[in-house]
Symmetry: C2
Subunit: 340 residues, 2 copies
């Protein structure tokens, strides 16, 4: 088992293998950030307040970075199509987070009080809608119907994934396939779309569009699986700080799915009481961790993530060697290695 | 003062002056309804359940009717661009209603239990997002970037209007201008966009696009003002059944704005207690009605609606006489005459 190194967003060691990519797109990201700032503007003062509360809170902006990188990988030489689509992708993601907080009843987001606590559920729903509208306006400005098609389809799939998750929520009988269908839709689809629009903008053949889409899709799955593991403190034997949110919210993630499948009847009763009925008692998180360790559920989830990481790396085979390609390969390692 | 004739959706007398328009677009609306049905489909069973709960509940579908009508008025002769944009407009409207219910905490919608009561706030938020995504997908299929621009801008403006309303909510100091800005954005903008895309599809000159937009915008304002009056039972001296929702929810509408402006200090204290503080007592709705009557606030609101109705009618001047034009003029009378 690995040693816990709690790697949170913004900490230097987390940036290590993202550094090359961040450096390569830094010029573009400055323009994306300016675009984001200007497009949250509104005469209705509450809109930039709520939007910037979340946007300024220091996410990695991995999705818009992927859009810039895939456009660059494919030789996009236009003026600002990549910047506008990257900002659109980030707005779609932000809108999803705002709506998610309402759906999950979350109190915290990115280490800050959730917008819905500060401004109410109403504001979270409506500012999310505003950002989604602005995302589509930016896409329309870019003028690529194919990019619009990809991103509007993604918006639909993400919502479907969230509803699927709602339906599967608190059901400890969720199968691995069902769980993968949920995270493909709710997380990986936006990674895939963010990467696919790059070659589309650059007017590259369908094969390259599919390659970039496959890279994003598999990276997104790996990313989410590692997130699931991190929520139980990584693969270390000990529980760290700030873990257990998924457990307390009764979320069924892959470690749970694996542990339930391999568990005894007594263990299953434990998962039903804690996750389905939410009847939590002192020491339950520690018990959950013990059961997960007993069945190697966290390590197996990491192993699954590594497989998807390999698929993501392989997807880039058609592209010739370049600093951008190397940087995109490193991102896969970064995502998978966050865990230990 | 007029006599109360409670005209609700679906009752024959309400259909009277919509009848010509409904007849003229009936073929197109059958295809719109088929489109709506097929686009609420999803492997995730909860999505069509929630969507159809609202969609089947018998709204007039005035907005998609306006899209078909304006396309026809302008001689659109394409295959199904009008049908898909009309379905998009209805999905945008339905998404707004689903999100509104969460924002307002409403228990009822169109005489049915609100979706959020039956399936939860989560489902209302997410199915709204799904429908918005599907709306954009249909627009992309139509392929008109200008129509996409109009409708995505409308999505943004509607969300802005809703946030504006949230900010103004329960503030009895709201001015008439502020209130009009809210209903322009949250209600009239979608009427305007629904009408504007007709001439756009038909490839007509900007002057006709602006004429159709102006028709929709002014019709939308008139429509909302009459809705405000109907919520106090129309202009009759007596209170009818099923009225007072706005009052109980503390909504500031034009009748209230006018009554507050003309009111005594005692009356203003009444509005602050009931609308701002929500400290309702037995008999308050009757008192509200008495004060509104004392200041002719309902009649004046109807008078304002008539003015906007006139602007809507005048906007169609550039178009030659035709059965469709006559039908669109009648719609204005229908909207304004619902009240007495």
């Amino acid at each position: 088992m690995g040693v816990v190194v709690s790697i949170e967003e913004g900490r230097p060691d987390a940036e290590a293998s993202l550094a090359d990519l961040v450096a390569l797109v830094s010029g573009g990201m400055e323009r994306v950030n300016a675009q984001i700032l200007s497009r949250t503007g509104s005469d209705v003062a509450m809109i930039p307040e709520v939007a910037n509360h979340l946007i300024d809170s220091g996410g990695k902006r991995l999705r818009p970075i992927l859009t810039l990188a895939s456009a660059d990988l494919c030789g996009y030489a236009g003026i600002d199509g990549d910047v506008k689509l990257a900002a659109s992708v980030e707005f779609m993601h932000t809108a999803t987070l705002l709506h998610d907080d309402v759906v999950d009843g979350s109190d915290m987001r990115r280490g800050r009080v959730a917008a819905r606590i500060k401004w109410g559920n109403e504001a979270s729903v409506l500012v999310g809608d505003f950002l989604l509208g602005q995302a589509f306006r930016m896409m329309v400005e870019v003028g690529s119907l194919r990019a619009l098609d990809i991103l509007s389809a993604a918006a639909t799939v993400i919502a479907e994934g969230e509803v699927m998750q709602l339906t599967a929520a608190k059901n400890t009988g969720t199968s691995e396939d069902e769980y993968l269908a949920v995270i493909r839709a709710k997380t990986a689809e936006l990674f895939a779309a963010a990467c696919e629009v790059g070659p589309v903008l650059a007017g590259r053949p369908v094969a390259e569009q599919e390659a970039c889409r496959a890279y994003g899709m598999n990276l997104g799955i790996a990313f989410q699986l590692i997130d699931d593991v991190l929520d139980y403190g990584g693969t270390s034997a000990a529980l760290g700080k700030n873990v257990g949110d998924d457990f307390r919210e009764g979320k069924i993630t892959l470690p749970i799915v694996l542990a339930v499948r391999r568990g005894t009847e007594e263990e299953r009763a434990f998962w039903r009481r804690t996750l389905e009925q939410g009847a939590l008692e002192e020491g339950d998180l520690e018990t959950a961790h013990t059961i997960l360790r007993r069945h190697h559920a966290l390590e197996e989830t990491v192993a699954r993530a590594r497989e998807y990481g390999t698929l993501a790396r392989d997807a880039l085979d058609p592209f010739p060697e370049s600093p951008m390609k190397s940087a995109l390969l490193q991102v896969v390692d970064f995502c998978v290695s966050r865990v230990h």
